[in-house]
Structures are given as structure tokens and as C-alpha cells.
Amino acid sequence: MKAAEEAIRSDAPAVRVVVVEDDHASADVLQRRLQANGMVVSVAHDGRQGIALVEELLPDLVLLDVMLPDTDGYDVCLRIKSNGATAPIPVIFLSARGEVVDKVRGLSCGAADYITKPFQAAELLARIDAVLGQARSPRVPRLIRPVERSAGSRMVARVTIADRSLSAHVEQLLAPKFDVADGEVTPDVLILEGNAAQPADAPEDVPVVRVTAAHASQDRPELTPVDAQLPRIVDLVVRERDLEGDLEAAAEALIVLASAIASHDRPSQGHSERVAARAVDIGRALGLDESTRMTIRLGALLKDVGNAKLPASLLAKHGELTADERAMLERHPLLGEEILAGFKRLSGLLPIVRHHHERLDGTGYPDGLRSEQIPLEVRIVTVADRFEALLTDRPDRPAVAEAEAVRILQGAVARGELDAAVVAALATQIRAAGAK
């Protein structure tokens, strides 16, 4: 069955396709053919427009001509595959170029298929079905969208137990407090039997309760008996997870307080927030995972918390600092680390607080660390901090434009102070934002 027919007959969302084709007549025919098969089609007539459309719509599929007026399809395909947000989207080349080298080149650029013009519509649709089928496999989770649940609904348990009678008994016990997930809803808790492996499609961050039909045993303390206590125990496991969330909220409150303190020290409001947002953007561009980006965000927000222990007159002073004053000011990373050391949950961001004034060439403070001794997360926050500072008027110098700030940071890279790859990621972002 064709994917499009399947979409029409079921309630599944329609397949969204971006067609990049410079020939208007060909694009029109293709668009009509795909629409007639239930697909939602958007058309671009050159490479630049095509890339913009793909980035904006994040379609399920891209059909790409090789010969385009402003660039070639290989270039467009490589750009799609080099952007983390668009890389999983399958691309099919449609081209009149039918030499082996053209096909090899297209496929080696990351395309899922290469179809030579002229082609029969039936073949095109069959190939689209095949490519979409592969893209929908569990290895490509992007196309599988979890069903959203409304806030305030009952908690959901997913029971994965092979023994049907045991499974039914567990579901019956949990029924007063939990709905049982049908596999599409993200559950609050996962119920497994004994040492059974987690299902491949189980969400990673959901707590697991392992149950047994037997009585409680000291030999297997990790197993919970299926009895009247089960709902209470499962409920406690879910609440513990929620408590973790509350602790994170407490850390957030601490950040708000630190930001409030920082705003009194800074000539500009919201500097820390801007640094944090910028640093997270850079981290995303460098492919860092969400957990690391969260550490970067928290570290950027709290990096100057040590200023709270310095005299207000020192922080507010205009003009050149004396050697003693500078030495005192340069203690703020150590003071910040002292303040936060008591928060066990914030230990992961202490390197950012302590080292955000270090330089790759060893001329920074407080420890004079060099190059790879400085963690990447710290280097990112350092670049974001210096960049945002350059955009702000200071008593000793006026603010500069973003492009000029990038140029100044590139100068610092050339002197060996900053990580070139981090500044390059920032420069690319600024250039892209300027081009829009």
C-alpha cells in the first residue's frame, strides 16, 4: 500500500514533501502528482530557497533536482545533511544526469535514493514509500512523534509482562490510580517482570518497577511482589521522580536570585541570561547533548555569583583598577565556587564557575590552565561571555556591532586565548542571522 493512500485511509498525518526543482513545469506536474496521492507539497525553485524551506518546514522528505540555477543539488543535499535539525530528513535525487558517477556522487552525499528522469510516477511513488518506510523505522525516532498528554491527567503506567494473567492482575491492581498506556503515550512508569529487558521503544528517563509473582525475598530485593502494596510502591517511585524535578526547580530559584544579584553589579540588565542563551546556542551548534547544554546554561547563569562576596564599591568602580583591586576582582571565580560547593546537585557546573576566565594559552586566571585542560563547556561560556560583553557599552569603551565583536574574538583566537572552533560556531550563527 502506498504511504499516501495509507495516510488518506487512516488518520495518520499527511506526508510533507519539499520539492526543489528549477523547471516550473516539471515542478508543477510533480506537485500535482504528489498532492493527488495525499501529500502536502511545497516547492522551491533554487537551492538557497530549498534549504530555507527545508529548515523552516522540517518535512518528511525532500525531492531534489541536481541541476539548479544558483548551486547544484549535491551542495543542497550536503547542507541538509550537515545541519543537525535537518540531517535525518531523507533526500531523493531526481535528475536527468544518469551516469554512474552522478548516482554514486548523489548517494555518497547522503541521499536515500537517486531516480533518473524521465521516470514513471508509479516508480517514484514506490520509491518514496520505500524511503519513508525506512525513515519511519525505530532507528530514526524523529519521525515518530509521541502523543501529547494534557496536564493534570491521571498518571500512566506501561505494563510489559509476557505472562498474560500476571499482566492482567497488575493492571487491575493499578487501575484505581493509573491508566495503562497503549504504547503510544509516554508513560510515567514502566512495569516489567523480573529481569526482563526494557522494550526497545521505552523512553529513557521513565522510572522502572520490576515485579514478581512470588512473595518478597531478601535474595531479590529489587523485585516488588504483585500484591495490594504494588499501587502504593509504584506511586512512590513516580513521586520520587517528581521530587527530583522539584530539586531542579530549587536550583532554578537559586539562579534567579544569583541573576538578581548580578543585575546590580552589571551596567546592563540581563547579561547572564543573554550569555546563557548564547552559550546554549553555541553548544547546540557543536552537537552537545541536552544534558550538557543544561550544565552550560546553569554555569553561565551562576558563573559570576562570587561577585556577591566582593565589595559593592569595587564592582561599581569606573576607571582603571589598582593591582590590589584587580587581584581582588580576579578572586570572584574562587568565591563563586565556594558559594556553590555546598550544592551537591550543582557540582557539575563548578568548573564553569571556577574557570570561565582561563585562556587556552595559559594566561587566564585563577589557575592558568592551558588548552585541553579547560573543558569544552567552559570554553563555550567564556566565548559567549566575552561576546555579549562586547555588545554592551562600558565606561572604558562603547558597544560594538555583532560582526565587529566576532572579529575581535577572532583576534583573540589568533593570539591563542579562545577556542577557534567555538568562535567559528558563533561566527557562523551571527553570519546566518545576518543573512536572514
Binding site: 548551486t71 556522487r105 552537537g287 585541553e372 577572532q410 589568533a414 572552533a421 568562535v423 567559528a424 560556531a425
Partner: protein, 260 residues
Amino acid sequence: MKTRGDKVTTKVVPAHETDAERRHEHRFQVSESVARLVMRTTANNLPLSRDDRPYQWSTTTYCDTVDWSIYRQAKTGSAMQLRIREYHRTRPREVLNPGTAWIEFKDDEEDTSLKERFGVPMDSARSFLRGEPTLPNLDHGLAERAAKLLKGGARPVVVTQYNRLAYNSLDSSLRITADHNLMYFALPWAATDGDEDPRPLGTLLAMEPNVIVEMKWYGERPHWALDLHSYLQENTKQERPSKFIVAMRWLLGDSGPEPR
């Protein structure tokens, strides 16, 4: 016969390739149509290179120091490049992947270059980057010079990826290559004594427009190669520095051509 408890040590004997003598090296940035003509002419006269499968992806990771000493030297026209090359059928999104790595040393002068390279398991390449004595110091002493660079703090900093079509004369005196889809990536500094996982590519710095054709030779060239060289000179869009220099320009925001 081995018994339980025997310690098995494996000594890696690297594959070794080196230029017989310094080679002239000219690079041309040409359009797709010019590149096709050039490579058809080349294919009529030279065999496909045995080592380069057509259109496989070459991934080259270049090293430099924190004060960019290699790049600074390269800009003067004379430098010793230190790089790790990998070959893959499809484009990898990481570098220093498991498999065979080629540790390459390339000594550039104004118009000529000398290359030496060693094929080793990636683990050995990582050991080499950590400054451990992994390679024999052969013919030209390039490995020894590379070891000094590493001791001076050279680390992987920038990456190029491209599809290469290569033709080589049987005696290696003439080599003509066409590089498509040339991309430049940044690579964040990382501890070389850290984990052994492949490292994700950093930001895409730029993509090269058109095709880069390179002609490398030593000794006398046949007439058709001289004609081809003239044709390339007439049809080149831009004089080309080395990929390393172009990559570093993008990385450091040095003055270079505008990105597409």
C-alpha cells in the same frame, strides 16, 4: 600454542608510502563542466589510482598548535603539515573513527611538496597524537619533525571532507585528482589523553564552490599533461592555496573568499 595467562602483544607494522622525490603541485578551482573534460582526458591517459576508490569520502584532520605556528609558517609558503586521513564509503559525521587511519606528513615549499604517510589502526594514530613513539623514522625524517610539533602542543583543529577522483601514472610521477563537495569543518580542542571515542565534527565553516583539480608531478610530463595544464590555467576561476590554508582561513576568520 598459547596457554591461559600468556600475555599477547601485537606489534603494529604500519603500511608506509612516500614520494620518491619532491613533487610539483598545482591546484585549480574549475567549474563542473571543465572538471569533467579534464578528467575524461586524464582517464584516456592514466589509470585510476589503486588506492583511491572513486568518490569515496576522504576525511582529513589537520593539526596545529595553540598559537597556530603551522598555519603561520604555511602562509609563508613553507610548512610541515601533520594530518590524519580516513576513507569511508559514506560521509562520516565524526573523525578519528575506528578502522585504518593514515598518518600523513606533508612538507610544503613554494612550488613543491614531499609527502610521507603511514597506514595504522586508529588506536595507533591516537597514540601518535598523544606523542607516543608509534612510527619508525624513515626516509625523509618527517616523522621526527612531526613528533616535535606534537611535543610543541599540536592537536587536531580543523577537518576537510570531499569526494576524490584520482588518476595515477604507474610510476607515480604524475597524479591528477578532482575533488568534489569539498567541505571545511572546525574541530573543538579536546584532551588527547581523554576518551577513545570518535570526535564529532564541529561547525561547517564553508563549502568550496566548484571542483578542485590538482596536478602533481616530478620529472618530465607528457605532452597531453602539459596541454591539460595550460587548459586548466586558462579556465581556473581562482589561484588555490592548499586545503589546509583555506581551512585555517575559515577557522580563524582570516581574509579569504566569501562563503557561499
